[in-house]
């Protein structure tokens, strides 16, 4: 057996980077280029999955405290770029690397089906974004986390601006603007503040880094509170209101990118960072004791409800999904803000559960766009008969968002409700109930429309060219009537079937995710 003396977390970082290089070299041969993408994604999943057993093993935390991180470079004297594996990051890396494969299959169908330009740049940036996610997931200290957090913003910018139209550039500007403003003004300020107050300690460890500074009085509760606010609003990717605007703006991007933003990487990076900061930088015990994080429950609760209400009134399908994401992200935040071991588990699980459901929904939206060039919900009458697989998948995704069995969303909601009772938080309970109703109210009508409302017949059947004008600027240049369509290209259908299936499988077999979430819980002091 050949033994490579390379740590798997380093491989996980380098594989997508190498992939990006090879993709750019293979740019002239699209089939080879896509093959490279798929192979890279496969190898990455293999490597990442291979790391899971060690994290799940008994006595992991005992060795975690002793084991040194993998040091990559000393950036400033005493400040290292450092990787270290822990359960939460493991979970995030698993989600991202498994969904990358499906997303790549989908991208092939979508990008070719819609004749998008600059496809090589698209796949290169995608691989780079995944590399950033790997670095983020395995970051061993705050500094490293920040480095990859910013790298993720930068590498996804070209994806959001992909179309290059005035609207795409404007939206990408909003995307970059909000994310950079929050991360530079608040997150970086918070990190440097942490560095100053802890005397240079930025290493992630269960229980947090502030205990000594709090004990000897060099850090007071109000300052701790300011730091907490800086972190929570500095992590703009978690889309806590009012810094959520970038997410609907980014809808202009091609659908695989929306899937990347909403399910695989970006928003997940946001809530992952929130969770990581709460668990490993502040420590739930410290936050409970000083009470500086209580406001977060109310802000997250308000975000859940307001975003759901906004979603209710969106006719554009992707915008409705975007506001749904804003609301779902705050589920993770509200769960984390409850600060009980069980609620931390629920938060970690919801990161995973939401990923599968939301990627299915976006895949379905993109599938509809590719096959029928429809973007508005009001156009979807009867589309379930033309695209049964797509709409079936959409239904499964919707059920997961609502939190009904047998879907992934139920698992995390179960834990969240358990935590609500355990911590005696009636506000959260009310928010969850109201939000479930709202979720049903904005998802089920789409399903109903698709399957049970008859398709509207165009008034002037013989003059199709004039009727085509109703379907946006896409016209009929693909050589088929916009009304006469079936399912999207097969890679698209395959990908969305897989994610829909995964959403259901997660309900029956979520041992891995629950195992990692429990491992995280067991590490809490």
């Amino acid at each position: 057996m050949i033994h490579f003396d390379v740590s798997p977390q380093l491989l996980a970082l380098y594989i997508p980077l190498l992939g990006a290089l090879l993709i750019s070299l293979a740019g002239r041969w699209p089939n080879l280029r896509e093959l490279v993408t798929l192979l890279t994604a496969g190898v990455l999943l293999y490597v990442v999955a291979g790391m899971a057993p060690a994290v799940l093993a008994d006595g992991f935390w005992a060795s975690f405290a002793k084991a040194p991180g993998l040091k990559l470079a000393e950036v400033l004297p005493g400040v290292w770029l450092e990787l270290k594996v822990e359960p939460l990051g493991m979970l995030f890396a698993l989600i991202a690397s498994s969904l990358w494969i499906l997303n790549s299959i989908y991208s092939i169908g979508y990008m070719r089906g819609n004749h998008e330009k600059n496809q090589t740049r698209f796949y290169v940036c995608f691989a780079l974004a995944i590399a950033s996610v790997m670095g983020l997931a395995f970051a061993g200290n705050l500094f490293t986390l920040f480095v990859f957090y910013e790298a993720l913003t930068l590498t996804t910018y070209p994806l959001v601006a992909h179309k290059g139209s005035a609207e795409a550039i404007r939206s990408a500007r909003t995307y970059l603007g909000i994310l950079v403003v929050t991360s530079v003004c608040f997150l970086l300020a918070g990190i440097i503040g942490t560095y100053v107050f802890t005397g240079g300690d930025m290493t992630f460890r269960p229980g947090g880094v502030f205990r000594r500074a709090l004990a000897d009085g060099s850090l007071t509760a109000p300052t701790l509170g300011i730091l907490f606010v800086l972190y929570m609003y500095g992590i703009g990717k978690a889309a806590l209101m009012p810094v959520h605007r970038w997410l609907p703006a980014a809808m202009v991007a091609p659908t695989p990118v929306s899937a990347l933003l909403h399910a695989v990487a970006v928003v997940k990076a946001g809530v992952f960072t929130v969770l990581k900061v709460i668990v490993y930088v502040f420590g739930p015990a410290v936050l409970v004791r000083y009470g500086v994080g209580d406001w977060l429950i109310y802000v997250a609760g308000a975000t859940i409800l307001i975003a759901s209400c906004i979603a209710l009134f969106q006719d554009n399908l992707k915008r409705r999904l975007a506001y749904s994401t804003v609301s779902q992200l705050s589920y993770v935040i509200i769960a984390a803000a409850l600060l009980s071991p069980l609620s931390i588990t629920a938060a970690a699980l919801h990161i995973a559960a939401h990923a599968f459901g939301k990627i299915t929904l976006f895949f379905a939206a993109g599938s509809i766009y590719t096959a029928a060039h429809k973007t508005e919900i009001s156009q979807l009458d009867g589309i379930g008969r033309r695209m049964p697989i797509t709409m079936a998948a959409f239904t499964i995704g919707s059920l997961s968002m609502i939190g009904l069995p047998p879907t992934a969303g139920f698992v995390s909601k179960w834990y969240l409700l358990q935590a609500t009772w355990e911590t005696d938080a009636p506000f959260v309970l009310v928010v969850v109930i109201l939000s479930t109703l709202l979720n049903a109210a904005y998802f089920l009508p789409i399903v109903y429309r698709a399957f049970f409302v008859a398709e509207a017949k165009p008034h002037h059947e013989p003059h199709q060219s004039s009727a085509d004008g109703n379907f946006g600027d896409h016209g009929d240049h693909h050589g088929h009537d916009a009304h006469d369509h079936g399912e999207a290209p097969w890679p698209v259908v395959v990908a969305l079937s897989c994610t829909a299936l995964a959403t259901i499988v997660f309900f029956f077999y979520s041992d891995l995710a629950i195992g990692l979430a429990n491992q995280l819980r067991s590490g809490l002091p």
């Binding site: 950036v75 004297p77 790298a151 930068l154 601006a161 795409a168 500007r173 970086l188 440097i192």
Partner: protein, 506 residues
């Protein structure tokens, strides 16, 4: 007697005399590539000397090297004194000077008529000589003399841009007037200090000033301080005394813009270090006098105002020029904090900004070389036509923003840390962070134009700039990335420099 002919013991003076003599000889190097090759040789040798000098300083037990010219004791003669601070700045100036000389060949061929190349490179090398001289000397009057050498040559260099755009002449004249005012102020300040202390040696000046009773009410010292502060403010283009800079950098030949942005104002800041910290001392400049308040308010206002102005520019070189004023604001804001991390951030940013901005001006120059202009309209779609040049520009821009793993991030880290550590100075931290957002705004206008807009007209046909331009550009940009990933060397040197600057304080 023998050691007069050895290199290593005489490094401090060789750093100045080599380019001084070499620069004058450049005129005799004919009309072809001779002057450029000679200038490259001279600057290369000088760069090598500064590397050796840095090693020597790092090895020195006292932390500095003292060299007395002609073996005259420092009371009467001129002392060259090199410590971590000026060794680092010498290295920066000579290093960027050398790389810019490599770059200059093609750019100068295009922008300046052939028959003036020998004069151009002569003045070029002499300008570098003046800048290095200011940095190496420990004698206040010698600073003034070398300042005049560098200023006069820089005026000439800027005026050489007249064949591309006649405005270079007015830009040069404006700089000449304001620069001369600044230099006169500095001379007056030095004169008054000499009246009080009876010496021109910086260390002696400091000792004698410190010995003065009731220095805070000593009229002559106060007047000297005021004159020096104004004069230095003009020389280092501190907002609002920066008015000469944007036009000068915009209309100067591209290679000159790259050289000046990386070195000239930086040396102005070095002078401020010497006068404020070494001669007057922290206790006088920042505690007894409100220099920290004046400087940090001016610097913060400069960061914000010029940042906004830079966002509104369409000419790339002009945008970079305004950005430079803002970046100088960071440096000034850093040392006005007068604590270790603030000053270290200031010192490290002198280097970091030199490599980033030098590289970016080179990229703008490469666009000038291919297109004859460099405004936002003409660079549309250039990301595909000139990928290396545009990538360098963007990488430099990310550095200005201070994205992690670029050199700019290191500076920002130290500056914010310093601002948080100083009492009641957190607004400086806020301004530093907001300033980096302005940098995002102006960098992103270029990104959008170059990568997400379609080219029009002749821009669609251009090809990548020649290797002799792209390679030096990437040496500097590469350095900015390297010293962003691993800043232990630059960080430690700056910390050492900061400690020695502050350590002399009472």
């Amino acid at each position: 007697m023998l050691d007069a002919f050895e290199i290593v013991p005489n490094l401090p003076v060789l750093v100045v005399t080599t380019p001084l003599i070499g620069g004058i000889l450049t005129i005799a190097m004919g009309r072809g590539k001779g002057p450029w090759a000679w200038a490259t040789l001279i600057t290369g040798v000088v760069f090598y000397f500064t590397v050796l000098l840095m090693q020597q300083v790092l090895a020195a037990k006292t932390g500095f090297i003292s060299y007395e010219l002609g073996n005259w004791p420092r009371q009467w003669g001129i002392e060259y004194r090199v410590d971590a601070l000026n060794a680092f700045i010498l290295l920066t100036v000579a290093g960027v000077g050398f790389v810019t000389t490599l770059y200059a060949q093609k750019s100068v061929e295009k922008e300046i008529p052939q028959d003036r190349h020998n004069f151009f490179y002569a003045v070029w090398v002499l300008a570098i000589c003046g800048l290095l001289g200011i940095t190496v000397t420990g004698d206040a009057f010698n600073v003034y003399v070398l300042l005049e050498i560098s200023s006069l040559t820089v005026y000439a260099l800027i005026a050489m841009g007249k064949d591309m755009n006649r405005q270079a002449l007015t830009a040069s004249l404006r700089y000449l007037i304001l620069g001369s005012v600044g230099a006169s102020f500095i001379l007056l300040g030095i004169g008054y200090l000499m009246m009080v202390t009876g010496t021109l040696n910086m260390e002696d000046m400091h000792d004698r000033l410190a010995a003065l009773p009731d220095i805070v009410h000593h009229r002559t010292v106060l007047v000297a301080f005021a004159f020096l502060l104004c004069g230095l403010g003009l020389k280092m283009a501190l907002f609002p005394l920066h008015m000469w800079l944007p036009k000068a950098y915009t209309y100067a030949p591209s290679a000159v813009s790259a050289l000046l942005s990386a070195t000239a104002t930086k040396v102005g800041i070095y002078m401020a270090f010497r006068f404020l910290f070494t001669i007057f001392g922290v206790g006088f400049s920042f505690v007894a006098m409100p220099a920290n308040l004046v400087l940090s308010v001016a610097a913060c206002a400069g960061i914000l105002v010029t940042g906004v102005t830079a966002v509104r520019q369409t000419n790339l070189k002009r945008m970079l020029a305004y950005s430079s004023v803002g970046q100088l604001g960071y440096i000034v804001a850093g040392f006005s904090l007068a604590n270790v991390h603030g000053v270290a951030g200031s010192v490290v940013h002198i280097f970091n900004h030199a490599v980033m901005k030098g590289g970016m001006f080179m990229a703008a120059g490469a666009i000038m070389y291919r297109l004859g202009r460099c405004d936002l309209r003409s660079i549309r779609g250039l990301g595909k036509r000139m990928p290396l040049t545009m990538a360098a520009f963007v990488a430099g821009g990310l550095g200005l923003v201070g994205f992690p793993l670029t050199a700019g991030f290191i500076s920002k880290w130290y500056l914010v840390q310093g601002a948080l550590e100083a009492p009641h100075m957190w607004p400086v931290a806020a301004v530093v962070l907001v300033g980096s957002l302005l940098a995002v705004a102006y960098t992103w206008r270029v990104v959008e134009a170059a990568y997400f807009q379609e080219p029009e007209g002749e821009s669609a046909l251009v090809t990548e700039a020649p290797l002799s331009m792209v390679a030096p550009m990437w040496i500097l940009i590469g350095a900015s990335v390297y010293f962003g990933v691993s800043a232990t060397f630059t960080g430690e040197i700056s910390m050492r420099a900061a400690k020695s600057l502050l350590g002399g304080a009472p």
